[in-house]
C-alpha cells in the first residue's frame, strides 16, 4: 500500500443562500487503496480535530449502487474513472502531489444545500409525475403468459440500472436531465406493463423536467460519458420518439 500527498480545493458554502468559495486543504499520507469518500472522511477527521467545520457531502451505501454520492472532480462528474460512482473511485487514480478540485453537482435545478451537498429532489419530482405504473395489473401472472422478447428485457434492465445520482445533469453543458428522464421512461416503455400509461407518462415527465428548470439537450453526449451505470443516449433517442408520438396522439 502506498500513500500520496494531495492538495484539495473544495467548494465550501455555508447554506443555500450563502456565497461559496473554493478552500484549499493539504492532506498527507492518503492511502491509494482508500476510496474518494474515505479520503474525505480522513480530511473531515482532521478538520474536526482542528476545530474547523467538516466538509458536508452526500453518501449512503458506499458500494456504488444507491446513487447518493457524487461530486465534480477536476471538472468530471464522479471523477476520472469510467462507470463508477464517487464512492467507488479509488485514490490509486491520483498521483503524489496532485491538486484535486472538488465541486458540487451543479444545475439550476440542483440548489447547493451545503458544501458538496445538493438538493436533487427535482429528479424525484420527475419520477413522481409519471415514472411508475399505476394501472391495476392483476395478480401474479403465470410464467410465460406475458411473453417479452429477451432483447427488450435486456434494454429495459439497462435503462433501469440508472441510480438517479444526477451526474448526467451535472456534466451536461446545458444542465439537461434528459438521460435520467429517458432512462426512467425507457425502462417502462420497453415492457408491456408500462404500455397502458405510456403516452401520458412521456408527456407528464417531460413537462415536469422542463418545469424544474433543467436545460435543453444539445446531444453533446457528456452525460453518457460520465454515467456511472453506462446508460446509453439511445434512451434519449427513445424518449424523443416517445414524446413525439405522445404529443401527436394524446398531447
Amino acid at each position: 500500500m502506498s500513500s500520496i500527498n494531495l492538495t484539495l480545493k473544495i467548494w465550501r458554502q455555508h447554506n443555500s443562500d450563502a456565497l461559496g468559495n473554493l478552500e484549499t486543504y493539504d492532506l498527507d499520507n492518503v492511502h491509494t487503496d482508500m476510496s474518494f469518500l474515505e479520503m474525505l472522511d480522513i480530511l473531515n477527521e482532521k478538520l474536526t480535530k482542528e476545530g474547523k467545520e467538516p466538509v458536508a457531502f452526500d453518501h449512503d451505501c458506499r458500494e456504488g449502487i444507491c446513487g447518493m454520492c457524487g461530486a465534480v472532480i477536476d471538472g468530471v462528474a464522479h471523477g476520472p474513472e469510467k462507470e463508477v460512482t464517487l464512492c467507488q473511485l479509488h485514490m490509486r487514480n491520483f498521483s503524489k502531489g496532485d491538486t484535486i478540485v472538488i465541486e458540487p453537482f451543479r444545475s439550476r435545478a440542483f440548489p447547493v444545500k451545503k458544501d458538496l451537498l445538493v438538493d436533487r429532489s427535482a429528479l424525484d419530482r420527475i419520477i413522481q409525475s409519471g415514472g411508475y405504473v399505476s394501472v391495476n395489473t392483476g395478480g401474479t401472472p403465470d410464467g410465460n403468459s406475458l411473453p417479452i422478447p429477451s432483447s427488450n428485457a435486456e434494454l429495459a434492465m439497462d435503462a433501469a440500472a440508472c441510480i438517479g445520482c444526477g451526474a448526467c445533469v451535472a456534466s451536461c453543458p446545458n444542465g439537461a436531465a434528459m438521460l435520467f428522464t429517458s432512462a426512467k421512461i425507457s425502462q417502462l416503455a420497453l415492457l408491456p406493463q408500462g404500455h397502458a400509461e405510456r403516452q401520458q407518462r412521456a408527456l407528464s415527465m417531460v413537462a415536469q423536467m422542463d418545469e424544474e428548470g433543467f436545460g435543453n439537450c444539445t446531444n453533446a453526449k457528456e452525460c453518457e460519458a460520465v454515467c456511472p451505470k453506462g446508460i446509453s443516449i439511445r434512451n434519449i433517442a427513445r424518449l424523443n420518439k416517445e414524446y413525439l408520438f405522445a404529443a401527436l396522439t394524446e398531447g
Binding site: 444542465g175 413537462a207 422542463d210 457528456e222 460519458a225
Partner: protein, 215 residues
C-alpha cells in the same frame, strides 16, 4: 393547445430544429445540384439559371418557403442558445469535457452565425444582383476575387462542421439511434459534410486557382 405545448417543450424545440434542419439539408441538395453545372461550362450554368428563372412563380414560392424554414431554424436556434447560455454560465471553476471531438457540437451556434452572415452576403451578391449582367459572369467575377473567394471557402468549412454535428443530432432527435444503423450514420456524418464542402467550396477554388479560366 396541444400544439403550442408540444412546440414550447424542450423536446418540441429540438424537433423544430431537427425538422427545419432536414428541410434545409434537402435545400442544400437541390442548390448543390444546380451549382454543379458551373463545373461544366458557363453556357450550361447560364442555361440552368435562365430555365429556373423562366418560371418566376416556382422561384417565389420556393424562396418564401425556404425563408420561413430558415427563420424558424435560426430563430429557434438562437433562442435555445440563449436558454442554454443562461443555464450553463459560470458553473464550475474547472470544466473538463470527457467526450472527444466536441468541436462541432460546441461551435454549433457560431458556425450557424457564420452561415447566416454568408447567406446575407450571398443573397445580396447573387439573388439581388443586377439583372443586366448574366449570372454566369457575376459568379466568375466575384468568386475570382481572393477575399471574396476566401470568405466563401471559410463559410463552407463552417457549414461542414455545422452539418457534422447537425446531421447526427437531427437523427438522434428524431429517435433514430440503433446499433444496426449507427455505423452508417457515423460514416455519413463525415461523408455528407465533405460532399457539400468539396462541391460548394470547389467553385471559388475553381476560379481562384485559374482552373476555371476557360469557363
Amino acid at each position: 393547445m396541444w400544439f403550442v405545448r408540444f412546440l414550447s417543450s424542450s423536446i418540441g424545440k429540438k424537433l423544430i430544429m431537427a425538422t427545419t434542419g432536414l428541410l434545409l439539408l434537402l435545400f442544400l441538395c437541390t442548390h448543390v445540384a444546380g451549382n454543379a453545372t458551373i463545373y461544366m461550362s458557363s453556357e450550361v450554368f447560364q442555361g440552368y439559371a435562365d430555365e429556373l428563372h423562366s418560371h418566376p412563380l416556382i422561384v417565389i414560392v420556393f424562396s418564401t418557403i425556404f425563408l420561413l424554414i430558415f427563420l424558424a431554424h435560426i430563430g429557434m436556434g438562437l433562442f435555445l442558445f440563449y436558454q442554454n447560455w443562461q443555464v450553463s454560465k459560470s458553473r464550475y471553476s474547472v470544466t473538463t469535457r470527457v467526450v472527444k471531438n466536441t468541436f462541432s457540437s460546441e461551435t454549433m451556434p457560431y458556425t450557424g452565425l457564420i452561415i447566416l452572415t454568408f447567406l446575407i452576403v450571398h443573397i445580396f451578391s447573387f439573388t439581388f444582383s443586377s439583372s443586366e449582367v448574366p449570372i454566369s459572369v457575376t459568379v466568375k467575377e466575384l468568386l475570382s476575387g481572393f477575399f471574396y473567394g476566401l470568405f466563401y471557402i471559410v463559410s463552407f468549412i463552417a457549414l461542414a462542421f455545422h452539418l457534422n454535428h447537425g446531421f447526427w443530432s437531427m437523427l438522434q432527435t428524431f429517435g433514430l439511434n440503433h446499433p444496426r444503423y449507427n455505423d452508417a450514420i457515423s460514416k455519413l456524418t463525415l461523408i455528407l459534410p465533405l460532399f457539400f464542402l468539396i462541391l460548394f467550396a470547389g467553385i471559388p477554388l475553381y476560379f481562384m486557382t485559374g482552373l476555371g479560366a476557360s469557363y
